[in-house]
């Protein structure tokens, strides 16, 4: 019954990363949403057994490189919606590249995660160019996937956020912005003094988004009264 052109999720992860998915629960919980989400990967629904009505999702081989890139991006960003957005939305893709360039690049490691700087530079330049994230594999900048090594903290963003004491205002601003905490991003943006053009650009974006959000919340409150 099984097609030769499709793999189960554990088989795909074994083929791509030589990792046994069943041994890493945290990683498993991150990978499955990517596979299950409709219209992200090309998947085939196949019945598990003759007697069972349950179905198994098999990933088409043409989607393996896309899955590979998505798993690498998850190592930085965790949130699977953000990861999917990077594939489909150019603004989100640019944000991700800018974040990696300003916050992550230049660090040899972020507690527990060793980065390979040459691969990371290429990874960022792939994101900044029109490189096809769906068809071609990006270089792997991790010596080991962060999804495997961190207890409870499953991405680099989250690891960085907890070490806030050693972060610059620019780092804090970018991290919180990408983590969706606009208030904290705004507070850091207000303190930020920098000549870095990318940081200055994001400071303006964050200040504007914060003001819009505040105005929107106020309007919603006013309408209720």
């Amino acid at each position: 019954m099984k097609s030769n052109d499709a793999l189960s999720t554990p088989e795909a992860i074994r083929a791509l990363f030589s990792i046994e998915l069943s041994k890493h629960k945290g990683f498993k919980d991150l990978v499955y949403p990517l596979v299950r989400y409709k219209k992200f990967l090309k998947v085939h629904k196949v019945p598990i057994g003759e007697s069972s009505s349950r179905e198994q999702l098999l990933i088409d081989k043409c989607s393996l490189n896309k899955l590979y890139n998505a798993v690498l991006l998850q190592g930085f960003f965790a949130d699977s919606k953000r990861v999917r957005d990077i594939f489909s939305n150019n603004v989100k893709r640019k944000e991700a590249a800018d974040f990696l360039e300003t916050v992550v690049c230049g660090r040899q490691s972020v507690i527990g995660i060793s980065l390979q700087s040459e691969a990371l530079i290429e990874f960022i330049s792939n994101l900044k160019s029109d490189f096809s994230l769906s068809d071609d594999k990006m270089p792997n900048p991790f010596e080991q996937l962060p999804q495997l090594s961190l207890n409870g903290k499953t991405s680099l963003i989250q690891v960085l956020l907890v070490q806030s004491a050693v972060l610059s205002d620019g780092d804090t601003m970018m991290l919180n912005f990408l983590d969706g905490d606009l208030k904290k991003a705004y507070d850091a943006a207000c303190k930020l003094e920098s000549d870095d053009q990318t940081l200055i650009k994001y400071k303006a974006i964050i200040v504007q988004k914060y003001q819009e959000a505040k105005e929107f919340d106020k309007l919603l409150d006013d309408l209720l009264n």
């Binding site: 208030k183 819009e212 505040k214 929107f216 919340d217 919603l220 209720l224």
Partner: protein
């Protein structure tokens, strides 16, 4: 012959433009958007602005406008707009087979 063809294409194009120019906003969907915006606002501060798209907020505004306008023309409308929007947003989801017109829904929403 050629001219007639062009004329035909042109008039077809024009009529499609005219029909698209009519508002195609569904009251139920618009009120559902409005409720979504409030639920994301209640979930977390500043969340509403970050998760609402421009068209979603336009739809929500349409619901609000229709409700306000209806209440102004009907003397018997006693519920506040939030309750009415909530009612309309929920109504169709529960009873999809039993579709009511917008006007009927608005009338019912005033009676809760």
């Amino acid at each position: 012959m050629h001219h007639i063809k062009i004329l035909l294409i042109f008039s077809a194009l024009l009529s499609s433009l005219v029909s698209e120019a009519k508002p195609q906003l569904s009251l139920v969907e618009s009120c559902a958007e409005l409720m979504n915006i409030y639920s994301s606002k209640n979930e977390q501060r500043f969340m509403a602005a970050q998760t609402t798209s421009l068209s979603e907020s336009l739809r929500a505004g349409y619901c609000l406008g229709v409700l306000e306008q209806y209440a102004e023309t009907e003397y018997s409308c006693r519920s506040d707009w939030f309750k009415r929007a909530e009612f309309i947003a929920k109504y169709n989801l529960e009873l999809e087979s039993n579709r009511l017109s917008d006007r009927k829904l608005l009338k019912l929403s005033c009676e809760i």
